[in-house]
């Protein structure tokens, strides 16, 4: 009898293992969301690097959990959020609406039964916001280099 596992069986077992931690994972992701909402609520009007770094540290910890919790759009939203926070820190700017829409989207996408089309629409909006700041950060980097 050969040792080891066939690929198909191993992948299936790994998926089943991930399924078993779904409830814990959902609870931890929700706890991170609450932390993030609390952090967002305390933000002032001006640029505050350490506050944005704090939000980044929370959001980045959630990436990867969405897939396990059965909410893969959350991973995309959190990646967009981290990109946005990275761009804002690079630009040394603060945009309450852009940050707020990501925090609200995280909450919405965590709700059970979000229709696929609705989730896609939310993600589309987030990606547009992110793209705006990405373009500004790229332009700033280009002018710094020149």
């Amino acid at each position: 009898m050969p040792g080891g596992l066939p690929v198909a069986e191993a992948v299936e077992r790994a998926q089943a293992n991930l399924e078993s931690i779904k409830p814990t994972c959902s609870a931890e992701l929700l706890a991170l969301l609450e932390l993030c909402e609390a952090g967002y609520a305390t933000l002032g009007d001006g640029f505050d690097d350490s506050a944005l770094e704090g939000l980044y540290a929370i959001a980045v910890k959630g990436i990867g959990a969405g897939e396990v919790c059965g909410a893969p759009p959350v991973d995309i939203a959190l990646t967009s959020f981290c990109d946005l926070l990275d761009h804002l820190r690079t630009l040394r700017r603060f945009d309450r609406a852009a940050v707020g829409v990501h925090v609200q989207a995280w909450r919405l996408l965590m709700s059970p039964g979000v229709p696929k089309a609705g989730a896609e629409q939310i993600l589309d909006g987030l990606l547009k916001v992110r793209a705006r700041f990405a373009a500004e950060a790229a332009a700033a980097a280009k002018s710094d280099a020149a």
């Binding site: 690929v7 980045v60 396990v68 991973d75």
Partner: protein
């Protein structure tokens, strides 16, 4: 090289010593569930850089799966340390770096850390397995330079770009053309066809 998730090909991680580094309980839990599902049994779970250092100094490891540990990026520091400061065989151990997000300021750090692959989260079991198999099969030469220690990062051989010849062939062709031109300039008459008399 994509791994077919329905493949019946077998592999064995049962005897592999695997170092896992992730500073969040959730991240570690996801990683552990995946690698144990893939058949790994001997795991060193480290939730901090220092803990991973201790394991790497006291145990032989066959594989390390290291999270970048954003936002500090200490995971990259650990891989660099592993490559430069540990004894054989650990300094050559296959390293997969996982990352949830890479800030712009960390891109160079990620590239130069010395890992074999960087895998973006969310982690899919089949992707992780694919990378493990890939790293086990491919023997990439190790480079030791002042600024980089790790596997050769130029490991893809896609051949010459479409429609473009190999550089070596271009060189031979260019040399032949230059030689022909030089000979032509030196003896123009000899090359010119004799003029016919029409008279």
């Amino acid at each position: 090289m994509a791994l077919d998730a329905s493949s019946r090909a077998r592999f064995n991680l049962e005897k592999a010593s695997i170092l896992l580094l992730d500073d969040t309980a959730m991240g570690m839990s996801i990683l552990v569930q995946i690698v144990t599902g893939l058949g790994a049994k001997q795991l060193y779970r480290c939730n901090a850089y220092e803990m991973a250092q201790e394991v790497a100094q006291t145990h032989e490891i066959d594989l390390a799966i290291v999270d970048a540990l954003a936002p500090s990026g200490q995971g990259y520091d650990f891989v660099q340390w592993l490559r430069r400061e540990t004894q054989e065989p650990n300094c050559y151990a296959p390293v997969l770096i996982t990352t949830a997000h890479t800030p712009t300021s960390d891109i160079v750090r990620a590239r130069d850390a010395g890992g074999h692959f960087i895998i973006k989260k969310p982690l899919a079991p089949v992707v992780l397995l694919e990378r493990i198999v890939w790293v086990a099969r491919a023997s990439r030469p190790f480079l030791f330079t002042g600024s980089y220690v790790g596997p050769d990062r130029r490991f893809r051989d896609d051949g010459p770009p479409d429609g473009v010849g190999r550089r070596r062939e271009d060189l031979v062709k260019a040399e032949a053309e230059a030689k022909a031109q030089a000979e032509g300039e030196a003896q123009p008459e000899a090359e010119a066809p004799p003029e016919r008399s029409t008279g």
